[in-house]
């Protein structure tokens, strides 16, 4: 089974390498939203540093959502999803492999660029580790939860809007605790509790979503 998952991971990474736009799109979106935000509100440092945590988290969520629709859709359209489902391995392993690549391509770059973004929004520098840690735990959760929606709208024409409606409620708790953890760190408070909750959500999503999305793919 490891070889099955590794085959999918290697194939999907190769596909991303052939079409780097797929990887850069969510990142560009993330940076643009955050760069435009101060233009719309006010460039005042005190205001920005207060709102930074929420803005970064919401932008990260939207960037993830943007790339989710294609998670299974391309495979469905060219028939390779059929071949993946026909392999004699449980469908959750296929979901897990695809979600891993999705996170690697859309989540990880956000985390790596987040210190720069944080500086742009005057987030206190002592809150940056908390931001990165919360994104590190939170973005895979977003990818995992999104996989359920992506699997359900696979094969539905114009399923993007439906996907957003399905998934957004599930994202709310992750956003709340993710953004609050960064805000708490900015005020110098302990973030252990927030991180524990984020980690709990991640573990829960890791256990439930590959199985649920795998079942949805077979519909």
């Amino acid at each position: 089974m490891m070889r099955f998952m590794w085959t999918i991971i290697r194939r999907d990474l190769l596909l991303v390498a052939r079409q780097p736009a797929e990887m850069i799109n969510p990142l560009v979106f993330f940076v643009l939203v955050i760069a435009l935000f101060p233009l719309g509100i006010s460039p005042e440092a005190s205001l920005l540093s207060q709102t930074a945590a929420g803005v970064i988290w919401v932008a990260a969520m939207l960037a993830t959502l943007l790339s989710l629709e294609l998670l299974f859709k391309l495979d469905h359209d060219d028939g390779s999803l059929e071949q993946l489902l026909l392999a004699p391995y449980p469908s959750w392993s296929l979901v897990l492999a695809k979600v891993f690549v999705h996170w690697l391509v859309s989540g990880l770059p956000l985390i790596l660029i987040s210190p720069l973004i944080a500086t742009m929004l005057f987030l206190p520098s002592h809150a940056v580790p908390a931001l990165m840690l919360s994104l590190l735990i939170g973005t895979p959760t977003l990818s995992l939860l999104g996989a359920i929606g992506a699997a359900l709208v696979t094969g539905v024409r114009g399923g993007g809007m439906l996907l957003t409606l399905l998934i957004l409620p599930l994202y709310v708790p992750v956003i709340i605790f993710g953004a609050s953890s960064v805000a708490a760190a900015a005020q110098g408070m302990a973030i252990g509790g927030y991180m524990a909750l984020l980690a709990a959500m991640f573990v829960f999503a890791l256990m439930i979503t590959p199985w649920a999305a795998g079942a949805a793919l077979k519909l």
């Binding site: 099955f4 085959t7 596909l15 060219d78 028939g79 059929e82 071949q83 026909l86």
Partner: protein, 220 residues
């Protein structure tokens, strides 16, 4: 060979298999027993459920009524449908590599040899997007030469192949059945091989017409 065809083991059986789509019965009470060495030509008019039958047998389409049995343990099945499952951005060789890699492994030499057998020598490193429809079909069919599989389920495998391609493919089908495999395929073309058995899905829809049309058809 000391044994005759009738002594060959069963590879696939169905019992009372039925399929209903959009409250229309496509086929009903389908009982077939596919033996090693047989080539089943599934026939029927458009919309008779040929594709659905192959998808049910492969496990892609859910089975609500009836049963599908694979008597031999760990029977391996390959399904090649209308959608070939090839990634346009990847080369022919890379596509074969991941397709075979899902449940097995292959070396580059083996993949090149398989591509040569389907007449794609020199196209190994071309991306699939650059190939013609017939060549894409050939890439997908090259998989048949790389996997040791008992049953081939092929949906319209002659589509967009040239005449020589069809002759070649008939030869592969022949060799596969002679070496103890089985094939179930749909095609609107006649297949002139001695081991061909014809399954006309039209016969199995006839069964359902005895039910009153307006109330829908009870399946159980």
């Amino acid at each position: 060979m000391s044994f005759t065809l009738s002594a060959m083991p069963h590879l696939l059986c169905t019992s009372d298999l039925a399929c209903e789509r959009d409250s229309r019965v496509l086929y009903n009470g389908l009982n077939i027993a596919v033996k090693a060495g047989e080539l089943w030509h599934v026939k029927g008019r458009n919309g008779a459920g040929k594709t659905t039958l192959l998808r049910q047998l492969s496990g892609l389409h859910p089975v609500d009524t009836g049963k599908i049995l694979y008597p031999k343990e760990s029977t391996k099945v390959i399904y090649i449908g209308h959608k070939l499952g090839l990634k346009e951005q990847l080369s022919a060789d890379e596509n074969l590599s991941w397709l075979v890699g899902l449940d097995g492994s292959s070396t580059q030499e083996q993949r090149y040899a398989a591509l040569e057998r389907v007449g794609l020598r020199g196209y190994e490193e071309n991306t699939v997007a650059q190939l013609s429809a017939g060549q894409k079909r050939r890439v997908a069919l090259a998989r048949l030469h790389l996997c040791k599989v008992d049953i081939w389920l092929l949906d319209e495998p002659f589509t967009s192949l040239d005449q020589q391609g069809i002759v070649d493919e008939l030869d592969w089908l022949n060799q596969h059945t002679l070496s103890g495999g089985a094939v179930l395929m749909t095609s609107h073309q006649e297949i002139s091989l001695p081991q061909v058995k014809v399954l006309d899905l039209g016969q199995y829809t006839a069964l359902s017409s005895q039910w009153p049309q307006n109330e829908g058809v009870p399946l159980v």
